[in-house]
């Protein structure tokens, strides 16, 4: 594993990092994390003949950029699937933020009977197997037809991702000294107001971590969506994409093309949110 050896050199906290070392580290890390996606990119530009060539060519004879156009017109209609995935992921993320933030805040600020049981109950939702639960979820939500199925998936994804959000946010809230809050309370602000105005801005890294976690998990969710969504036009990407692999005609190149396209929104979202993660907390804010 390339990252181990090269990463170790910078594990300390040197004030003035060695620029050459940094450069090598960058290259190794970047190569390690990019190589499978390089294969994905290359494969997405191959024709169906090339993709099953033995031995395989490193580069396609003629890059088929048109794969990126034809895929949209295919019956799998990745455009609609991308929309479905985006709606469900954004919805679930907002739902989790709305619900997990007050819970995490309260858990971090107060000790009360049932607090640990609550934390553990939340954790249990993470431990259940979606593969086996899917049938129950299906029975529960099968009358949610049309776009309502997206709402069902928002609720499901939201619930199964609550645990991480609550646990990580409570850890971050707990790291803010109580006095910060109490000052605000004395000034006459309510608890909720204090949470939003005073505490939230201080735990941005935790919130962003939770957002990214929920968003990405929902983006990748398969088991529930697979069982729940009946109408092909409403299927999210994870469920729609395998339709490229028919019984005898397996359009790998389109599968990889769609996968490449699907990476873009997540990366864009991340590049926006990343600033918050890194710059959101000034070093002096917490003692």
């Amino acid at each position: 594993m390339g990252a181990t050896a090269s990463g170790r050199r910078w594990s300390g906290i040197n004030k003035a990092p060695n620029p050459i070392g940094i450069a090598i580290g960058c290259i190794v890390v970047a190569a390690f994390f990019a190589f499978p996606y390089a294969l994905m990119l290359i494969s997405s530009l191959k024709s169906r003949e090339d993709i099953a060539r033995i031995p395989p060519d490193y580069l396609p004879e003629q890059p088929r950029w048109d794969n990126y156009l034809t895929v949209w017109a295919s019956n799998v209609a990745p455009g609609g699937a991308l929309l479905a995935t985006t709606v469900i992921s954004v919805g679930a993320t907002l739902l989790v933020l709305l619900i997990a933030t007050p819970a995490a805040y309260y858990i971090a600020r107060f000790r009360f009977p049932g607090r640990l049981s609550f934390l553990f109950l939340v954790l249990i939702t993470q431990m259940l197997q979606p593969t086996v639960l899917a049938v129950g979820l299906y029975q529960q939500f099968r009358d949610w037809r049309g776009q309502l199925v997206w709402v069902a998936l928002i609720l499901i994804n939201g619930t199964f991702n609550l645990s991480f959000a609550i646990w990580i946010m409570q850890a971050f809230f707990a790291s803010i000294p109580k006095e910060v809050d109490e000052a605000a309370l004395i000034d006459g602000a309510g608890r909720l107001q204090t949470m939003f105005r005073i505490s939230l801005p201080l735990v941005w890294p935790g919130i962003v971590t939770a957002i990214v976690f929920v968003f990405v998990n929902t983006w990748n969710e398969y088991a529930a969506a697979f069982v729940l969504v009946q109408d092909p036009a409403l299927q999210p990407l994870t469920v729609a994409m395998p339709r490229f692999l028919g019984l005898y005609i397996r359009d790998w190149q389109y599968l990889f093309t769609t996968a490449m396209v699907a990476v873009v929104p997540v990366i864009v979202l991340f590049s926006f949110i990343e600033r918050r993660l890194i710059g959101g907390l000034t070093a002096g804010a917490v003692k």
């Binding site: 019956n75 009946q230 395998p242 339709r243 490229f244 005898y248 005609i249």
Partner: protein, 428 residues
């Protein structure tokens, strides 16, 4: 520290108690809704919905179905058709989920029906297809949709037959004059071709999940045996040992592609398409790809070799089955839909989208006349032998074969069949 552990354990205990408590009495049945027949005077059905669940044969499958739906809706504008198309890879788990949730599609396109028929979930297909439609289907293929009780539970919708496809260039290079007819000839040919080197394998033996049941059945039949012994399906029988021993001989002799136990037919076809495989059992769907995308690979077709030299014929059909949803309107709508689907005008487009062969006599005749590439496959259709799909026991045996037949690469034939038999018996 102690506190959280205690809380955790206490909570776990309560939770599992709650679960145990619920399990004794939770009702899991959905009330069956029965609506009286309400066919309108003008032949138009009142507003209702029928559901179709079908796998994706190719990228065009969705459109192929939608064409039929459009036509059907011209006749029955009040009936909403909900079409659900899923990829092949997880199709059976989708079907299982729907059955378990007791949400039965009105029309299901699948490759098995015995389990549903035995459980009484289906209409006999003759109740949801007009006599004329039933008659339009080639009798030899229609027979495959008969259950263990002799009733016609399913109607085939597409068919395929298997033949030995062999690379004529490789045969010439290796100095093999003709396609093998017997196992001995096959061995000889495979040895000579494997000796060519350059990553070329003699015989493609796909004993992976996807087709282990097909490949092992073919070798069993080639040995002159059958899974059914005195009306019961038996895995561990002398003829099967002989068949498995022959497969093992090919593997051990280096006559097959590497990793036979984890190869699916598509992967064998990739080798064949690239001129790296001498022979494999193939079908029209796979060879269409070879013809269109790998024209440099020259091949021919021959009957499937057997121990004695009598050709083995093998066919597969997929089926349409109709679930009994206790609703006369839906039943009538299903019937009218299926009649339209099998009508010449619409069926032709639909079956062509699958890349396989048709099942109606008129389309078979038309195909035979026009589709010269598949002439031999059409010919084989009239005398093919099928897997015992009508027997609910077969579901069990098939899955045991799919999971375990591939271990022949590292175990003795006797042991492999013993394992398969043990799995079958455990579920008996």
């Amino acid at each position: 520290m102690r506190r959280i552990t205690k809380a955790a354990i206490a909570f776990g205990a309560v939770f599992s108690l709650a679960l145990a408590g619920c399990s004794s009495g939770a009702p899991a049945t959905t009330p069956a809704t029965t609506t009286p027949a309400g066919t309108g005077a003008a032949g138009q059905l009142p507003a209702t919905t029928i559901k179709i669940l079908a796998p994706s044969y190719s990228e065009s499958s969705k459109t192929d179905w939608e064409k039929i739906i459009t036509e059907f809706n011209k006749k029955q504008p009040n009936v909403k058709v909900e079409l659900q198309i899923e990829g092949w890879d997880n199709f059976s788990s989708k079907v299982q989920a729907r059955i378990q949730a007791k949400d039965y599609p009105d029309i299901l396109n699948d490759n098995a029906f015995a389990g549903a028929a035995e459980a009484g979930l289906l209409y006999p297909i003759t109740e949801v297809m007009s006599e004329a439609t039933i008659k339009s289907i080639e009798p030899a293929l229609l027979k495959n949709g008969t259950g263990a009780d002799g009733k016609q539970w399913a109607a085939p919708d597409i068919a395929s037959s298997r033949l030995l496809a062999y690379n004529t260039d490789l045969f010439a290079k290796a100095g093999v004059a003709a396609a093998p007819k017997t196992w001995a000839e096959l061995e000889d040919a495979a040895k000579k071709i494997a000796a060519l080197g350059g990553g070329v394998a003699g015989y493609g033996l796909p004993l992976g999940q996807e087709e282990a049941q097909v490949e092992s059945s073919l070798w069993l039949w080639g040995a002159g045996g059958d899974w059914a012994v005195n009306g019961k399906l038996v895995a561990n029988q002398p003829t099967a040992v002989e068949a498995f021993a022959q497969m093992k001989k090919l593997v051990d002799g280096g006559m097959t592609q590497p990793n036979a136990g984890a190869t699916n037919r598509q992967q064998a076809a990739d080798l064949f398409n690239n001129g790296k495989l001498g022979m494999m059992l193939s079908h029209s769907g796979l060879l269409k790809e070879t013809r269109e995308k790998f024209p440099q690979t020259k091949f021919d077709l021959a009957p499937i070799p057997s121990k004695s030299g009598t050709p083995v014929a093998f066919g597969v059909t997929d089926f349409i089955i109709a679930f009994d949803n206790k609703d006369a309107n839906r039943k009538e709508a299903t019937k009218q839909f299926l009649d339209i689907m099998y009508s010449d005008a619409l069926y032709e487009g639909w079956y062509k989208g699958t890349g396989l062969l048709p099942v109606t006599t008129s389309q078979i005749a038309k195909g035979k006349a026009s589709d010269t590439n598949n002439a031999k496959f059409y010919e084989a259709l009239s005398y093919v032998k099928f897997l015992p799909v009508g027997n609910p026991q077969w579901d069990v045996l098939q899955k045991a074969l799919q999971g375990t037949a591939g271990t022949i690469t590292s175990d003795t034939p006797e042991n492999v069949l013993k394992k398969i038999q043990a799995q079958v018996d455990a579920q008996g």
